[in-house]
Amino acid sequence: MKIVALVAAALVLVWPLIVRGPYPQHLMILVLLNALLGTAWNILGGFAGQISLGQAIFFGAGAYTSTLLAQHADVSPWLGLLAGAGVAVALAVAIGAPCFRLSGHYFAIATIALGEIAAIAVTNWDFAGGAVGLFLPVEGTGIAQMKFDDKRGYHYVLCALLALALGVTVWLRGARAGFYWRAIREDQAAARSAGVPATRYKLLAISVSAAFTAMAGTFYAQYVLFIDPPSVLPLSLSIQICLVAVLGGAGTLLGPLLGAAVLVPLSAATSVFLGGSGRSLDLVVYGALIMIIAVFEPSGLVGLGRRISATVSRNFARETP
């Protein structure tokens, strides 16, 4: 399992050097972006057990904060990235403080409601471009501008952000927070009675999750150079983020990575082979696959991976007595 993960990581690092086509490079960037978003969701939804279907709020906060700062104050995207994360954390605390009193489906639907409120509010907010959206000012390319002439630069910026998110996840998972989160996820009342400050640690989870989601949003704005409510604030994005983590395996480190690595090429392949007619046959297949995975691998693809590696090692054991 470790060897496979290391080979995959090495492949990701050299990908834009050995694969020259812009489309495969773009696909890998989408995989990494989804992996980053899934990893961020996983901290809140997978480890702390609070199902958020409103991650687009934080993604939009990152995209809009950095873009507005660049447009009006000529602020570098790197500072914009930090500012966006700051705004997202502030929003996360403002959302979490009241909404963490809700449990299960009530919390999930509250996040949907908040996401829709954010989308409607930005659509009607002229300063933020309203329904028309915002174009990013482009003043040269390079690492300082976080804008690049080819996709390689974007690829490595994203690799760095993902590595940071994974590093923070590993660190928090092994620290006190990780144990508290698991206790809260399994039984909040029991955790509370054992002295776990549940609300404070749930606020920590939503803040970390929001910060990384916002960074992904800032990155997205630099990559696409145009943002509007349907592209950075839709409910479908929030659901897609959750889907990546859940199909891969919620509450595991590699789950969101696996989910992104399977889901992105899958939806790309179905749209390449079946989407040409413009009649959404690709989405028919996509929906069917989601159902199949939910039925046969409810704990996500990580569960499937574990079963396969268990079978393989059993067979090896039999062959080499």
């Binding site: 409601a113 009649r279 929906g287 939910a294 039925v295």
Partner: protein, 286 residues
Amino acid sequence: MNFAQALVSGLLTGFVFALIAAGLTLIFGVMEIVNFAHGEFLMLSMYLSYFFHTFLRLDPLLALPLNAAALFALGVIVYYALIRRVLKAPMLAQIFATFGLGVFLQSLAQFLWRPDFRTLGETWVSGRRIALAGVFVSGPQLAAAAGAVVTTALLWWLLPRTSTGRALLATAEDKQAAALMGIDPDRMFALAWGIGAACVGVAGALLSTFHYVFPQVGSQFALIAFVAVALGGFGSVLGAFAGGIAIGVVESLSGVFIEPALKNLFVFAIYLIVVLARPRGLLGKQ
């Protein structure tokens, strides 16, 4: 437009929201699964009305029992083919099973029937208008509201008065105790999916007389229904009914008196205020 007019049209829309929400909450009450394909069930029912009307010259109101029966069958099939397999799965897997079904049905509709907006044209109730004390009510809207009220009332009245209905309520109350009394929970789950889907079957037929029919039509109604259900309290039919009506009224009044573009913002804001004050909804078990 005056206050009474906005209030009445909000109430009429609210009754239809209430019926859609009642179907959703019935399924949740019995088995604690949120049907994220609920809007797509509604969409299929609206297409059914469209095809009945276009090809068989059947008025949507006349064909209404056929819609209900067809959607009942769909609900039961979905239960046995999909939901039964994720009963013991984690909540997230259940969400994505029904979400995947929604994507599947919506894109299948787009594939088969194209993304065009369709209207039924002339039906029994179209073009009629009733004026009462200065308040105008359009025929299709009145028929939809009346149909929704009658269906919800019938459901509410029948459930505790028939032995099957009582078995369903008992299963919702306590699965194990009901099973010990000889009630097969599997059959009750299937029945809940059947009745829940039949509710949107009726709602779809009623809406089709005045609403565009297109593959994505269910999404907006489903979102409202989720909010109505959570507002009223998951599992409470009466709560979903109250939630649906409240949302219809809030939507209409804020659309008329504040700003049409922001009307859904007020719907979601009201939801947040209510659940923050009462974390299990208006009528849910606190």
